[in-house]
Symmetry: C2
């Protein structure tokens, strides 16, 4: 009864839950007698281009259960952008493998790839059903309430912000300023999530800087000084990509760093630069934490809601392709907030590809470098349970 | 029946389990009718010096159970080094508070403080029982099998090393070199722990650089190139304090960075510098993760063995002081390795204060930048359970 084979690929930055989506796709394919072979592209579309494809029916059936709780991308990932002349090779490969169902897990660029593959097949009259699965810790895909991967990184960032807040408070006589640098391409969703465990005005994070707002050195130094005077310590969260009014990375346009006698321009990170700026201008010792890939990979801190939804959207993508849907992305629709209920839907790939959803104004505090209550209401259910907070000794006055 | 009051303080860098030790001290004190008041110094010895002391009997009794699983230092910590002329003020404060039991939780410097307080009391004929509780993620205190705080950071570092290993492997066509910068003053115990989840030659970490061995730029570049050629990607773990043959931080003695036209010397971190070096010399894209305080604060990844031992040594310190012990530190003795059993003991503070236990030669691989099986045997029981490892797809050849 097989109508053809299915191929699945993973693309873009890894997350804690992208393998949960893969398991959803593969388990749906394996349980359908409409599907012949189930293939995996290695390192995304590049695997299909170079015939680097593996046969997923040969994996032990129970591997998919453990893959659901394994971070990273089990098939390998990449950021390959197909050139126009390569679509012919892609189509040939799909025909050779008799693939009729194409499922691609990734972010904005991957949605574009899936869309263009669908288009190329249609143009050549090759019957193909292409559906993409959203995945990005950046949470910046439009037409979906949120993206798988975001809930888990938000849980990680909100938890460690409370932990490093306690650390910085305890060590404030030594290193009173801490800067946490988090991921985010052009959007500040990840930085914003740092606020989810905050209970009181004095709790970390005291300041949140997102790319949606131009970064001002003077404003930043004023904020840090004020927080230090109020609380005795400061925890500031900054997106790695914050830019100043000129649109350039904050570290690059500082006159002290912009040139050196060897012509070598050292590309330091935002937080490292800001620590130096705080020490230089305010005379306060500042240190930074840059969890890097750790923040997107932590299974110990993964959101159970995110793990489940990632699986669900993966399944839904495979089932939709089998049902004849093409040129679509699975989106997540929020049915209710309390209790939190969501369901998968379908959106047109053209409305998603290469688009970005930035933090809207109503999720930011109008007066200061922080988020609004509306953002908390939006993001809190996604981390799957209460944000981690900790008790304090009552005899220890709140700073 | 009270024979006097007890005071407890926390000092040095925070850990995930230093509050477990605090709870051990306080619960032992509260349950003894030999103790009158139970005081806490805020921010370590500085709190005693400035009369910044809180009454711990006024805390709700059940707070100690939740404090056991709260990272950081609930009393506040610090790095204050007492000057000779300040011991008089300390003795006056102890007399005024009628403190007879002095329990101090910290690392090398804190052991020195406890020793000098004990000595000062003896010299002035003031009856005082001073016992210190070991605490340091650096794991560098002598005369104890290991230090509370180490097992938890080792669990964190070994877990995230596997996670970022999977990430780097999946993303190797984009960013094939990852450098993880971890804590460690003069000792490489933390960096070494990155190896605890490694199962196969191809697993991360591929390279481990510790301060016990002088760092050679040429050797490092050769190692990275070799690993890249063998595995297609590289995860190197480096202690933040690695120094080159001259004994200077590796970032500071590079000619490209050692001067600039403004006379401003930018103090970059080791990993950030090494990424730049790899890009410059090998033409490979490299990124770094620097978990900073996150690595020492994570409760989600805390070692259950460490949490228990931290509590036990805290209790033992209070009980020992009450039994008339003075000028002692609680040490941990390993009774058996399999099953892992430990018990607390007492060592003389003079043999601990200002001493450092570095990684011994037999814990390092003689031929390459890695640890030996003897180190794994030593450290594995301390993380409390199996190191986290993850399944892989069988069709995905091992690189």
């Amino acid at each position: 009864m097989s109508k053809g084979n299915l191929i699945v690929g993973q693309s873009g930055g890894c997350t804690a839950v992208i393998n949960s989506s893969l398991a959803g796709v593969v388990e749906a394919a394996l349980s359908s007698d409409q599907v012949g072979e189930v293939y995996g592209m290695r390192h995304g579309i590049e695997g299909l281009l170079t015939s680097d494809v593996i046969d997923l029916r040969r994996e032990p059936r129970d591997v998919w259960r453990s893959i659901r709780r394994t971070p990273s991308a089990a098939l390998g990932s990449g950021r390959y952008k197909l050139r126009d002349e390569e679509f012919h090779t892609i189509l040939e490969a799909l025909q050779r493998l008799d693939v009729r169902y194409f499922v691609y897990i990734g972010g904005n660029d991957s949605a574009d790839t899936a869309h263009r593959v669908s288009l190329a097949a249609r143009q050549e009259g090759y019957e193909l059903y292409a559906v993409s699965v959203p995945k990005t810790i950046d949470n910046d895909l439009p037409h979906t309430d949120h993206c798988p991967g975001y809930g888990s990184i938000a849980r990680f960032v909100s938890t460690v912000t409370q932990e490093i807040g306690l650390d910085t408070e305890a060590m404030r006589r030594v290193d009173p300023v801490k800067i946490l640098e988090v991921m985010g391409r052009d959007a500040g969703w990840v930085a914003a999530s740092a606020a989810l465990g905050r209970r009181r005005e004095s709790d970390a994070p005291h300041l949140i800087y997102v790319p949606e707002r131009p970064f001002s050195r003077e404003g930043f130094l004023r904020d840090v000084r004020e927080c230090y005077e109020t609380h005795g310590y400061v925890v500031a969260v900054v997106t790695e990509t914050v830019r100043d009014e000129s649109g350039e990375s904050v570290a690059r346009t500082d006159p002290v760093f912009s040139q050196d006698s060897f012509g070598h321009r050292y590309l330091t990170g935002a937080a490292s630069y800001l620590c130096d700026l705080v020490a230089r201008e305010l005379g306060l010792r500042a240190r930074f934490d840059k969890p890097g890939t750790i923040q997107r990979m932590s299974i110990a801190m993964a959101s159970p809601v995110d793990l489940d939804e990632a699986y669900t959207v993966g399944r839904h993508a495979a089932v939709s392709a089998l049902a004849g849907e093409d040129d679509r992305m699975v989106g997540i629709e929020r049915v209710s907030n309390s209790p939190y209920v969501s369901r998968p839907g379908l959106v047109e790939l053209t409305s998603v590809a290469n688009q970005q959803k930035l933090l809207p104004e109503e999720y930011l505090d109008p007066g200061r470098a922080h988020v609004s209550p509306a953002f908390i209401e939006y993001a809190l259910p996604l981390i799957g349970g209460e944000a981690t907070t900790f008790p304090r000794l009552h005899g220890f006055p709140v700073g």
